[in-house]
């Protein structure tokens, strides 16, 4: 479609954006920290590595991510099987809830987990490692359900039946037939979950007990609370290297998933027939509703409840200014800020992300493609901090301006946009264009009635994701949102960290608003993916 030269030119836009707002700030952060006063200060590496605290945090980070991944797999794999094999009432709801959970702001998830577990009354469940694991489970269960569930549904069940006919008992069928075919999908989704939980920030920051920290939280504490810039930079380097390794593993595992064959085009779903199948499906419905809807319900109960029973007190309080206390502005301002930033971030992410998708949809080497499709390898905390110290002096001075917030949020959202748009660009295969031509569509009509509507749909889905991610972004925003421009997640974090019922109530009220907005945006656009639209 485009000449090579035009394609190269188009690359310039995303490259320039990433160079200016991603590579430059991160490098600048490292140089500023390690190269003060015109010479390299590398002794700080020795300091960090000889500190036993560093090694215990590193161990905790790895351990926590591994435990979260294993827990998520244990819970989600049976569910993936149910989704892959049966059609039943409530399935769409569970799938929608899982998508909403995946994009739910981490701060809200932390609040929801602590609220719902407190209601359960099990001691020790509402903070520390158990609470963090629950929050990670809530956030990531959808990744496994969707990825493994989709893949599993495309594996022909007849192969297992063939094994049964050859005399294999159920456990051998799973071990020798199902598992070898399913393993690539399980490994790929495990890698994604491990990556996400390895770089988890908001959840660990809020739910972790005093002294509990993973690498991301440690970077934040070093820099923000202890003002120890050099050690923060060393930690950021360690984090970047580890994440890069994980990304390589993850892209390798996902790539293996794409080169597979013998999958069904249309999954063969059946209604549960036997009593056993019905009870499995019923158990799945109950468990997944409890896991995916329970925390949300708890947030709403806390938001509307209070010491004097049901009321709108918490919501009313959002309108009043908290000047001089927690926020400089009224919480309702935070809602407005969030929406404005998220819209701006969505526009930026859509433009850059779809340019990347467009160029990739032509001829791109697998390596280029995986680099652009991967979620950002640098922690959001590092990114936010880098942006903050880089653009505070001429020639680009954003100090006192909110412009960096949507840019940071867009950076986090761009890989998701590219991921959503790329398949739709590729799905407009030559075949479909040919079909349009044989039906009498001119090339212009083909573009107008075939290409465009299909791409618009992908863009809408991408916009929903970008918007949800921007609304919930916390790690980078926490550095950039000064007191005058708090976003909803920042406000929730501040309220949660303050004592008193009314602060807690306001945190829950804000969380409920963010839940509703996120759910509307994601469910609304996700529907577009499948529902038929007219010309």
């Amino acid at each position: 479609m485009l000449t090579r030269a035009a394609e190269r030119l188009l690359w310039l836009l995303p490259l320039a954006f990433f160079a200016l707002f991603f590579a430059y700030p991160v490098l600048n952060l490292l140089v500023t920290a390690l190269h003060p006063d015109g010479h390299w200060e590398l002794a700080v590496f020795g300091q960090v590595f000889s500190d036993s605290r560093f090694w215990s945090v590193l161990w905790f980070t790895v351990w926590l991510a591994a435990a979260s991944t294993v827990l998520t797999l244990l819970v989600a794999l049976p569910g993936a099987w149910v989704l892959a094999r049966f059609r039943f009432w409530g399935k769409g709801l569970i799938e929608a809830l899982a998508v909403v959970a995946f994009v739910m702001p981490t701060v809200v998830v932390a609040a929801a987990v602590s609220s719902s577990t407190e209601r359960l009354g099990v001691p020790g469940l509402s903070e520390g490692v158990p609470a963090i694991l629950l929050a990670h489970l809530y956030l990531n269960v959808g990744v496994v359900l969707r990825l493994v569930g989709n893949y599993w549904s495309q594996l022909d069940p007849q192969v297992e039946e063939a094994a049964a006919a050859l005399g294999a008992p159920p456990w051998r069928r799973f071990l020798n037939v199902t598992w070898p075919r399913l393993a690539p999908a399980v490994l790929a989704s495990s890698a994604i979950v491990f990556l996400f939980t390895f770089t988890s920030f908001g959840v660990v920051l809020i739910l972790g007990r005093i002294g509990q920290a993973n690498l991301e939280v440690l970077i934040y504490r070093k820099v923000v609370q202890l003002f120890n810039l050099p050690e923060g930079a060393v930690l950021a380097i360690v984090q970047i290297i580890l994440v890069a390794v994980l990304l390589v593993v993850q892209s390798w595992l996902s790539r293996r998933l794409e080169t597979r064959q013998g999958l069904l085009a249309l999954p063969r779903l059946q209604r549960p027939r036997t009593a056993g199948q019905r009870s499995i499906v019923a158990a799945f419905l109950v468990c997944s509703l409890a896991l995916l809807a329970g925390p949300i319900v708890a947030v709403f109960l806390d938001a509307f409840g209070g010491s004097q029973g049901w009321s709108l007190t918490n919501y009313a309080a959002l309108g009043t200014s908290n000047e001089g206390t927690i926020l400089f502005v009224s919480p309702i301002e935070a809602v407005r800020n969030s929406l404005v930033f998220a819209v701006a971030a969505t526009v930026i992410a859509l433009i850059i992300g779809s340019v990347v998708a467009f160029v990739l949809s032509g001829r791109a080497s697998p390596l280029t493609e995986s680099i652009w499709l991967l979620p950002l390898g640098v922690s959001a905390v590092t990114l936010g901090f880098g942006l903050l110290i880089t653009f505070d002096e001429p020639p680009v001075n954003f100090r006192g301006s909110a412009a960096l917030i949507p840019i940071a949020q867009a950076l986090v959202a761009i890989p998701f946009v590219t991921r959503a748009v790329l398949p739709t660009l590729r799905s407009v295969r030559g075949n479909i264009r040919e079909a349009a031509a044989t039906l009498g569509a001119t090339p212009l009509q083909t573009w107008r009635f075939v290409d465009l509507p299909m791409i618009v749909r992908g863009l809408a889905v991408a916009a929903g994701f970008a918007m949800a991610i921007s609304l919930g972004e916390f790690g980078a925003t926490v550095f950039l949102a000064r007191s005058e421009f708090p976003t909803i997640p920042i406000a929730i974090y501040r309220f949660l960290g303050s004592p008193g019922d009314i602060n807690y109530g306001q945190a829950m009220a804000l969380s409920s608003i963010l839940i509703v907005v996120t759910a509307l945006v994601v469910v609304g656009t996700d529907r577009l993916r499948t529902s038929a639209r007219y010309l």
Binding site: A435, A437, T438, L439, G440, P443, Q445, P453
Partner: protein, 339 residues
């Protein structure tokens, strides 16, 4: 409905000739089935007629050449092997697409499309997403979409290929009815001979980019021309010169000859000594949907044994195993072949 003619068509993919000098003619309202194994170049002929691949030679529709006419102005309907449905449109809008492209308003296109949905029996799914349909339903949508704009000729690429047997039968019956009703000019390609003979009034058999035999369906069946075609049609009794049975049956010397498998049974074994009577013992017999196929061995012709020879016979009754049974060989049971 218009006459379609192809003259000396050549298609080359990546320096590899896939269609070599093919000439065919389908009269207005006629139905041609092109039958051949996969990779024989059948689909390329359709793509060349639709103008989707560059080709040499002539394609004439209603007497005028299509050279230089872009696909969207050729007025040919092509039903793709994988359907190529528009996943962003629902059923009725898929079917109405071609009408819209010809300038119909959306509401008009939907009204017209409705007729074709009824024709393929899918009127109850008009608002469904095409991705929610079964394989058979998707193929019926593809068929309705191809027919709706009323193209001068309809090209079908393995139209029931991906379906199971029952659905295949159902759709084939539905299709022939629709084509009869609309008097559509049809070119279909398939690798399945029962489909070819069911849809095609004329059948052309293709091998390695060339037509090996073409003509009225019954004629192609009766006279498959060469041994490859005969075997491809499932006619396996090909006798080459020099084989004992070839001589015993008195075939023309030096001419490869096909013995048709549907032979008349002789009730009275006493006739077995007559010169044109073949006797043998049933080695195995299988029921193949409507008729039995059996292998006869220990053959003798006119009472004299033909050692090592074997033939296949088709019968509408099961042939009993055990004692030898006898068949008469009529003149037209022996078909000379060209190789």
């Amino acid at each position: 409905m218009s006459e379609l003619e192809i003259r000396h068509l050549h298609v080359v993919y990546d320096d590899e000739p896939v269609v070599k000098d093919v000439s065919l003619r389908v009269p207005a309202g006629g139905r041609l089935a092109i039958l051949g194994p996969s990779g024989s170049g059948k689909s390329s002929i359709l793509r060349a007629i639709a103008g989707l691949v560059p080709s040499r030679g002539e394609v004439l529709l209603a007497g005028s050449s299509l050279a230089g006419v872009p696909t969207h102005r050729r007025d040919v309907g092509l039903m793709f092997q994988d359907n190529a449905l528009f996943t962003h449109l629902n059923v009725v809008d898929n079917v109405g697409f071609g009408l819209r492209m010809r300038g119909a308003t959306r509401s008009r296109a939907r009204v017209q499309a409705q007729r074709f949905l009824e024709l393929v029996g899918l009127e109850h799914k008009r608002e469904a997403a095409v991705t929610d349909l079964s394989g058979g339903e998707q193929q019926r949508v593809a068929l309705a979409r191809t027919l709706a704009p009323g193209p001068a000729v309809v090209l079908l690429d393995e139209p029931v290929g991906a379906l199971d047997r029952a659905l295949r039968e159902e759709l084939l019956v539905a299709m022939t009815q629709v084509f009869d009703e609309l008097r559509t000019t049809v070119v279909m390609v398939t690798h399945d001979q029962s489909e070819a003979f069911e849809i095609g009034r004329d059948v052309a058999v293709m091998r390695d980019g060339r037509i090996s035999v073409a003509g009225a369906a019954a004629q192609v069946w009766a006279n498959p021309q060469d041994s490859w075609t005969a075997r491809f049609l499932g006619l396996n009794n090909v006798m080459e010169p020099g084989q004992p049975l070839h001589a015993a049956l008195g075939c023309v010397p030096g001419v490869t000859t096909l013995l048709r498998p549907s032979l008349s049974r002789v009730a009275d074994a006493g006739d077995a000594r007559a010169a044109r009577v073949l006797t043998g013992v049933v080695e195995w017999s299988r029921f193949r949907g409507g008729l039995y196929r059996a292998a006869l061995s220990e053959l003798s012709v006119g009472g004299s044994p033909v050692p090592g020879a074997r033939v296949e016979v088709w019968s509408d009754r099961e042939l009993e195993q055990g004692p030898a049974i006898a068949f008469t060989i009529a003149d037209d049971d022996l078909v000379p072949l060209n190789d």
